[in-house]
């Protein structure tokens, strides 16, 4: 009898739940319809009549305002701006911003990529417009295809600043600076220069179990990096580099569509050692006093830590190239409450036009390259033009990302 009642109660609870989730389900289905489809070229202003209320009010497509105009409007609209950033250096940017524009408050929030996307998407969907500006990397093209084309993020590219930037970088993103994934070697153990110059040498038996990297399965940036080898003209470059090194044509395995997949397959077969963080790789390669140190791929930004930690390592300018660049990008969030301050902050971080580059300075360090032709890289940097880098096409990477990731997963 009693048991019966409990079942009844449970049944009621389930029914109530179902009715609740049914409501919830409807809500999520409606969402895509709410966001207007963006035109293919977001940089171009859509016709006046197609603008959403927020687009009109914020004047997001108006890129002609001067810093002074934006400053005045920023003070009027609430005198504050919130920056979500994947870099710890955002705190310094915020301080510099507030020093330059008294009366404006800049709230920086340092958070890692995954959490940033989760937080900003959830907040956006719930109508909580907290973040005004987002600093992230578009590594797999999803920022452009899902967020910009999906109408959640806006590129803001004022001509006075963007005339100094190579249009190659600006087609799908507002680029802030470039980082690379580079191969490092221990300069103490190899005083005559890198033991490896061609990327195919990494697939040779003597490097078996002696290459450090992060597992491409582990996160978006390494997954995108391996995808970069398999798309566009990169496979042809790899095939040519192979021929240059060994004097013969590369023979593809059955499951490998092109030279990119073949390279990944052979690299994986050479049992690279995976680590939990990029820092560990720099430490493993760069620690002095090693007899037979490994080589390793890691973020170029580790260069600026070298002196402080006493690491003895240097990057290799690989043939044919070091893979795709990781471009740090800026976006203004749709529906944000401080569009003028957001625009001013983006201009400030991009280095402005008045010669005061204090907003750019925190990012202009060893291992990071400015995208502007009128800002000189940090002392001791190799000029970016001299480094072999693979071409980056957001669309190509986006389409192939999961195919390449699955390929790597199948390797074991």
């Amino acid at each position: 009898m009693f048991k019966h009642k409990n079942w009844l109660a449970a049944l009621m609870a389930v029914v109530m739940l179902l009715s609740l989730t049914a409501c919830g389900g409807k809500k999520t289905e409606e969402k895509p319809a709410e966001t207007p489809a963006q035109s293919e070229q977001p940089a171009e202003t859509p016709a006046e009549s197609n603008l959403t209320e927020w687009e009109q009010k914020s004047g997001i497509y108006n890129t002609d305002e001067t810093d002074e105009e934006l400053y005045q409007r920023a003070l009027e609209e609430g005198a504050t701006v919130t920056l979500y950033s994947i870099s710890s250096r955002c705190t310094k940017v915020a301080d510099a911003f507030m020093a330059k524009y008294p009366g404006l408050e800049c709230v920086p929030f340092d958070i890692s990529t995954n959490e940033l996307l989760e937080k900003v998407t959830r907040e956006y969907d719930a109508g909580q417009h907290v973040a005004d500006v987002v600093h992230i990397k578009d590594q797999d093209g999803s920022m452009y295809i899902e967020y910009v084309q999906g109408g959640k993020f806006y590129n803001f590219q004022p001509a006075d600043i963007f005339s100094h930037i190579d249009p190659e970088y600006t087609a799908t993103a507002t680029p802030l600076y470039i980082e690379l994934t580079q191969l490092f070697y221990n300069t103490e153990a190899y005083p005559d220069g890198s033991p490896i110059t061609n990327i195919w040498q990494l697939t040779e038996p003597q490097w078996k179990g002696k290459i450090m990297m992060q597992n491409p399965l582990d996160n978006l940036s390494w997954g995108s990096w391996i995808t970069g080898f398999c798309v566009g003209e990169e496979p042809d470059r790899l095939a040519e580099a192979y021929k240059n090194l060994y004097g013969e044509e590369l023979k593809l395995s059955d499951d490998c569509e092109n030279a990119g997949y073949e390279f990944l397959k052979r690299l994986h077969a050479n049992e690279p050692i995976f680590t939990a963080s990029s820092d560990e790789i720099a430490e493993s390669v760069g620690t002095p006093g090693q007899k037979d140190p490994p080589v390793g791929f890691c973020a170029s930004s580790k260069l600026r830590k070298a002196e402080e930690n006493g690491w003895v390592f240097a990057p290799v300018n690989l043939e044919p190239d070091t893979g795709i660049p990781a471009v740090n990008t800026l976006y203004i969030v749709e529906g944000c409450e401080h569009p003028a301050a957001a625009k001013l902050l983006v201009r400030f971080m991009m280095g402005g036009v008045d010669g005061d580059t204090s907003g750019y300075k925190p990012f202009n360090t060893l291992g990071g390259w400015p995208v502007r032709d009128d800002i000189t890289p940090a002392d001791g940097s190799t000029p970016y033009s001299e480094i072999n880098v693979a071409p980056f096409d957001a669309n190509e990477i986006y389409v192939n990302y999961n195919i390449v990731r699955d390929f790597w997963q199948k390797l074991g």
Binding site: W7, A13, N215, A276, E308, Q409
Partner: protein, 623 residues
């Protein structure tokens, strides 16, 4: 006429029964609890489940289709996971690894924890107060600290960097790198390393549970066996073991679930040899934005854990546990260790020094080293603690006590842990009361299962779903029940409390089980109502348990980052967030400083509670 009379009495009986059920406050509380749990736990779970059947925009690439298809029902993710050419590497192999880790850690942790518990409770071991304080430190220090300590001991030259202590000894002895590799590699990374390090972390659960159970055994029972001529092993096997078996099984659930769900240690020690488990696949997929696959994996893990809870319920059945707060007194006579005493004492001291004190000391030393890995006196500094901001160190970031953010974070962390500790404990005790009184009944089992679910939902998913749920006002049939909670402290509290309910309610259950039903029954006979009984009998008797439950939640919320980072606004910073920031700024030393501060607070609060509050983590977890 007779027929009519019978009907009348039957309907009256039914009416009375319904009246009794509806007016009994206990039933009302059970009903409210089940509805709340369904809303706060089952709903997020269903949300996760629904997500795994909805096509995301990202996967249009693979499935074809247009934007129209986004959000449509699909079997794509489950099919990919369970029945594709990826299944072996994506699911089966990692799952098998997870299970071996789960079983390995459970067996080792139960063995170690039980032995320690027996020694502390039943033997005449010397220095007991010191040992019993030291024995739960592993639960308080983060597991990555132990992983780090493990590597600084056993790291081999192949992975580069400074070799571990053992490897450099072997190198000095002239052993070649290949031989070192062959000997040390299997110990340094992968399965064995993970099992050992996790065992050193999770044996604390077994220790806490089993020592509480042992505490409640009246030694008269064992003496009775002795009088009958039973040998010591027979007594242990036939009397002591059956009595602590429920506690051991409980420990198995906690340890097993935690071991298959953990990520940090497995990633740290497994990555160099590509040892991947289901939890590493889950995190990798989540960080690669394959949210649906990650959710599907989390659901599989929840199923495995629920199965273990279910098996536990079946094994223990409706069997009563042993009330210690009852009408009768009991006593406990320590068992002599005789000649073994000095040997066991020495072994324990070595164990504590190597396994517990060393990781802490390494952490403290590293926080005082200007450069990592350089062991010279000139390299020691207090910069990371009290530095004023030297542009050559840490990119000019000042030491933690000079960082304006530190005080704010400290205050936020304290506020969060204390408020959540109090709320979590109250709800935990209520749920514990239900689990204890409803033991073996459907509603008790249901609550026990429900409460366990948040244990295995990944923090990012849990935090994300709560953020979505409570950023809008919640209404039912058009009536607004809860206003939008975005950015409020209430939402932070709600999320943390629900996520930590598994601990809180387990503490509550054991606490309530210790209170014998006869006390309440006596009061009922005297005519005391439900609330009067709760206020006058249950609450006063469980005061100690309240404090213990509070400690358990306090410790785990203090360490929480993933969950809170999604819920908090940019202006709320907590200590784990500060540690994360320092780590991000490439300042592991400063990050260590924050970790030490966190550890000190936890330890201080625990010690104070131990001295003044009659709290004992051990007493709060049995059941």
């Amino acid at each position: 006429m007779k027929q009519h009379e019978q009907n009348y009495s039957r309907s009256r009986r039914l009416k009375n029964q319904i009246k009794a059920v509806v007016t009994n406050p206990y039933n009302v509380i059970v009903l409210i609890a089940i509805i709340l749990l369904a809303y706060l736990i089952v709903l997020p779970l269903l949300d996760m489940l629904a997500t795994t059947f909805q096509l995301s925009q990202r996967d249009l690439r693979a499935t074809g289709g247009t934007m129209e298809d986004v959000g449509k029902f699909t079997f794509y993710y489950w099919q990919r996971l369970l029945a594709s050419d990826l299944s072996w590497n994506l699911l089966v192999k990692p799952l098998l690894n997870s299970l071996t880790i789960g079983f390995g850690v459970s067996v080792c942790a139960i063995a170690l924890g039980s032995c320690l518990a027996w020694l502390m409770v039943r033997s005449d071991l010397p220095f007991k107060p010191f040992f019993s304080l030291a024995v739960i430190i592993p639960y308080m220090i983060p597991s990555w600290v132990k992983s780090q300590a493990w590597l600084s001991m056993f790291k081999t030259p192949r992975v580069g960097g400074a070799p571990g202590f053992v490897a450099s000894m072997m190198m000095n002895a002239g052993i070649s790198n290949e031989v070192i590799e062959r000997i040390l590699s299997p110990i340094a990374y992968g399965r064995i390393a993970i099992i050992i390090v996790l065992t050193l972390h999770y044996y604390a659960y077994t220790y806490l549970l089993v020592s509480a159970a042992l505490n409640s055994i009246n030694s008269e029972l064992e003496e009775m066996g002795e009088i009958q001529g039973a040998s010591k092993t027979l007594i242990l096997r036939k009397i002591t073991l059956p009595l602590v078996l429920p506690a051991m099984l409980s420990a198995v659930i906690l340890t097993f679930s935690k071991a298959i769900g953990t990520f940090g240690t497995i990633n740290y020690l497994g990555a160099p040899v590509s040892f991947r488990t289901l939890s590493s696949e889950l995190y990798s997929n989540s960080k690669s934005q394959n949210t649906q696959t990650a959710f599907a994996m989390a659901i599989l893990m929840i199923c495995i854990a629920s199965l273990s809870v279910f098996i536990n319920q079946k094994l223990i059945g409706t069997r009563k546990s042993y009330a210690t707060v009852g009408g009768k007194g009991g006593r406990s006579t320590p068992i002599g260790l005789a000649g073994w005493k000095p040997i066991i004492t020495v072994i324990l001291f070595i164990f504590f020094i190597v396994g517990i004190i060393m990781p802490v000391v390494i952490l403290i030393i590293e926080s005082c080293m200007l450069k990592e890995g350089t062991y010279s006196l000139s390299n020691f500094t207090l910069y990371y603690w009290i530095g004023e901001g030297d542009p050559n160190i840490m990119e000019g970031v000042p030491g933690i006590f000079k960082n304006g953010n530190f005080k704010l974070s400290l205050w936020n962390s304290l506020k969060l842990t204390f408020v959540n500790g109090v709320f979590g404990t109250i709800f935990g005790q209520m749920l514990g009361y239900i689990c204890a009184k409803g033991r073996g009944k459907f509603h008790g089992r249901l609550v026990e299962q429900l409460v366990f679910i948040p244990y295995l939902i990944p923090s990012v998913a849990f935090g994300g779903i709560y953020l979505s749920m409570f950023s809008k006002p919640q209404s039912l049939f058009g009536v607004e029940l809860i206003p939008a909670l975005y950015g409020t402290f209430a939402l932070l509290t709600l999320t943390s409390v629900v996520k930590h309910l598994p601990f809180a309610s387990r503490a509550g259950t054991s606490n309530m089980l210790q209170i014998s039903g006869e006390l309440e029954e006596a009061a009922t006979i005297e005519g005391a109502g439900f609330f009067k009984r709760f206020v006058k009998i249950v609450f006063p008797l469980s005061k100690g348990g309240f404090i213990s439950g509070f400690m358990l939640i306090f410790v785990s919320i203090m360490k929480e980052l993933d969950l809170i980072i999604l819920i908090m606004t940019p202006k709320t910073s907590t200590l784990p967030y500060l540690a994360f920031q320092y780590q991000n700024q490439n300042c592991p030393q400063a990050s260590n400083c924050v970790a030490i501060v966190m550890f000190s607070i936890v330890f201080l609060v625990y010690a104070l509670a131990n001295i003044f509050g009659d709290a004992d983590l051990a007493k709060s977890m049995a059941g």
